[in-house]
Amino acid sequence: MTQKYDAIIVGGGHNGLTCAAYLARAGRRVLVLEQRHVLGGATVSEEIFPGFTYSVFSYVVSLLRPEVIRELELAKHGLKIHPINSVFAPMENGDGLASYADETKARKEFSRFSLRDAEMLSRFHEVMYRMAFAVKPIIGYVPPNLTKPSLRDLGTLKNFGQHLQGLGKDTFHELSKIMVMSADDFLAEYFETDIIRAVHGMSGIIGTMLGVQSPGTAYVLLHHYMGELDGAFTAWGGQQGGTGGVSSAIAGSARSHGAEIRVSAPVAQVIVKNGSAVGVALTNGDEFYADTIVSGCDPTVTFRKLVEEKDLPADLVHAIDRFKYRGSSGKVNLALDGLPQFTAMKDSSLLKGLIDICVSVPYIEKAYDDAKYGGFSKRPCMEIVIPSTVDPTMAPRGKHMMSIFVQYAAYDMSAYGNRDQQREAFGNAVIDTLSEFAPNLKDLILHKQVLTPWDLEQEIGLTQGNIFHGELTLDQLFFLRPAVGWANYRTPIRGYWQCGSGTHPGGGITAGPGRLAAREILGGKL
């Protein structure tokens, strides 16, 4: 079977779909090939247990670029995000911190711990807001090639320099610091209370095999603050029907522009002839041809699995082999018979927001220590959402779906036996720890799904289970993502492109890489 397209996208994750939608919108004949039976990659909703929709992997939305929402008309295709406006974090002593998006409410709560911290909250928000605004244009730049800059790259560098200059002294200083500091050191400049630093610090470690006190985590914190919802910076939300709704909205947009999307179509390799990509071969032997092949997969899959070593320069091969993944997180999804009761929670509306099991800064560091050399945290950090509290489509009436993002979980859990044993032990650590804070949890569990980093790799092809397609550390950002000289969505193989989260601006449901890659493929104009 042979068919000719203008472009073939390998991987129907949210970035692959985004790239496909833009290319189709520009009139190209596009084919998307997804290995799984369902679209979305890590941005997927599935009915794992009858009547319950699980946001199997990713679970919240904020970084999704507003221009993508607008240009692809995602609202028309089903994007519907409800705001998440609170965080609750229980503590070891039976108390808990409730943080609200409403600053007056948050201040009142913070003042129970420290009047100083309560007042510093607005200053902290102001700084994070300014920085989110400061990095916003950078998120939209195609990273310049510094090794062989083109005229346009020089233009980008000039814009970049002017932008940095225009930020003003204070923002520039804050920005330089946040690029290299640890999340906790950065937060300590604002807050003295341990639990307040722990709650904010959680954003600095998500998807990263580093502790809150490790240098570089402050940037990860900023990465989680640079999203916006309806023009409101640093805001987070949940998609109706789970995060898979975001993928299906993007897919809907792509289809409306004529893109063809196939599931259960795993690509075995990209066909390269005379240094040019000319098509793809599926594992079942089917071949499809196009002059443009775009990989939405992570850099290792893109460069080390889909194409052969001989078609790549050695320095790129080495760079990709050194690219840091170090999956650090797992996921536990629960179908619940009712709502859990957190002993320390005074305001039950907090069940509609985030629930962070971070407990204290030393608790997070200890959790990191446990998993540093393999295995997982005995008492892990968790970020929990119960989307069924606001979204009736997630679970049967009166029942609930709980999504638990768990950190730390190393890729190597061999100390715990075979894969099933590892999964069992990891799941138990999560549920036992959570039950300390919500004692009725175990009685409510109707079904549990436990995913280790290895499962993330197996199920959706994330190398070492890294949710960001590679860690978001300074050495792997912007023009260094995924490798110097190849951050502009191109590859050494003519007609072969990258559009996954392993490219700028990186991981999370941003659709940024997919859009920027499409712009490059289309010659700089969408």
Binding site: R70, K76, N85, A232, T389, V390, P392
Partner: protein
């Protein structure tokens, strides 16, 4: 102190900021939480509960009941069957809008009318020579609007009537939470929804019964800020924003006709006399001064205006409802009308506006310019004429 509704003991306990608006002389919750976003989202995903008791309600009974409502309403009620509800407007004899509301036909000779402003004298004046009894029953009924995708399931678990048989703009008597009630499948949100009228003594019980199961149906109490956002998305006009009642105006330029408000569809000019008919015939023959349109603003242009000040895009998270100039051209040389309300729609991800413009500019797809103030300077933002309702989910009528 303004009057309180029969739900006040409950609404005041939930209203975190004690933020109240004056709705027809009653305290009406502006928002329950400090921020309206949860309430708004609840209605678009689960459901929201609004205390709409301040509506004026009139019972019209008697042999000539139909004759009276048909005389005041521009819409022909003779086709309205028992158990059916009509949305209608009524005008003065110049064909200018007096008010809008719903008219339910509860019996062959029994109608109930809801209104935003007092209408008793108007009804009495028009009833001269007719065999009807008009009663202001405003204080005899407490009312809630339960609106949103889960509203049917929630209400069904409290009533004996099979709601799957209750179609859009129909009404039925029912027992709700153990008390006699009138349920109308109506609302001001453009979503699936119901309004429930009960005796004031039963109000607290009804509220409690609904709140008790609210968690199962993702329901939240919601206030007027949210209601205003929802009705704009639904393309529904509102008194004091999109029009002023002719009773509140002194100068003709302030008055608006139903044709101008896009309500021509409800007017049958060939039927027997109704108040305003001749003026509306004249308007129909000679053309209206303006037409009501939906607009979508190009926020990328607004974003550039903010960028001139080094600022990110600012969007109206709550609805505005004051007149904003609209022009045929960017340099603002040719004024053609006014925006009457507008908002950023979280569900549509669009900045939408309801506007009244000269008829020649009202065509779908037309590009016109609306004034936006950015840092106290006037900017022209391009906007397209689009279809209303802006938001029209299948469950509204399904």
């Amino acid at each position: 102190m303004l009057k309180t509704t029969p739900f006040h003991s409950r609404t005041s306990a939930l209203c975190q900021g004690q933020s109240w608006s004056n709705w027809a002389g009653f305290l009406a919750a502006t928002t329950y939480e400090p921020d309206h976003l949860h309430e708004y989202n609840a209605v678009r995903t689960g459901s929201g509960l609004f205390d709409v008791s301040p509506l004026f309600k009139y019972d019209i009974r008697g042999k000539d009941a139909l004759a009276l409502v048909n005389r005041v309403s521009v819409r022909d009620l003779s086709k309205c069957r028992i158990g059916q509800v009509y949305y209608a407007v009524w005008c003065n004899d110049k064909g200018m809008i007096f008010d809008d509301g719903t008219i339910s036909r509860l019996g062959e000779n029994h109608f109930r009318m809801t209104a935003a402003i007092p209408t008793l004298v108007w009804l009495q004046d028009n009833a001269l020579g007719l065999d009807v009894a008009i009663e202001d029953v405003s204080d005899q009924y407490a009312a809630v609007a339960l609106q949103g995708p889960t509203s049917r399931d929630l209400l069904q678990s409290l009533t004996d009537v099979d709601l799957s048989g209750l179609r859009f703009f129909r009404c039925t008597n029912a027992t709700v939470a153990g008390a006699p009630a009138l349920i109308t499948r109506t609302g001001f949100t453009g979503d699936l929804g119901y309004e429930i009228f009960v005796r004031p003594d039963d109000a607290e019980n009804l509220w409690d019964a609904m709140m008790e199961i609210s968690g199962e149906f993702q329901m939240l109490p919601a206030g007027l800020v949210t209601l205003d956002l929802l009705r704009i998305e639904a393309g529904l006009i509102s008194i004091d924003s999109d029009f002023i009642s002719v009773t509140q105006t002194i100068f003709p330029v302030q008055q608006v006709s139903p044709f101008e408000l896009g309500l021509g569809w409800m007017i049958d000019l060939d039927r027997e006399f109704f108040v305003g008919r001749d003026a509306l015939r004249h308007e129909k023959a000679h053309g209206s001064r303006s037409n009501t349109v939906g607009l979508e603003l190009d926020v990328t242009v607004l974003e550039k205006a903010y960028a001139e000040y080094g600022m990110p895009l600012h969007l109206p998270y709550t609805a505005w409802g004051t007149a904003v100039p609209i022009y045929a051209d960017e340099p603002q040389k040719h004024p053609i009308g006014r925006g009457t309300c507008g908002m950023w729609s979280p569900v549509l991800k669009k900045y939408i506006v309801i506007a009244r413009v000269k008829p020649e500019y009202a065509k779908l797809g037309n590009l016109i310019w609306i004034e936006e103030m950015v840092e106290a300077r006037s900017y022209s933002i391009p906007a397209r004429v689009v279809e209303m309702p802006f938001y029209d989910p299948p469950q509204k009528k399904g």
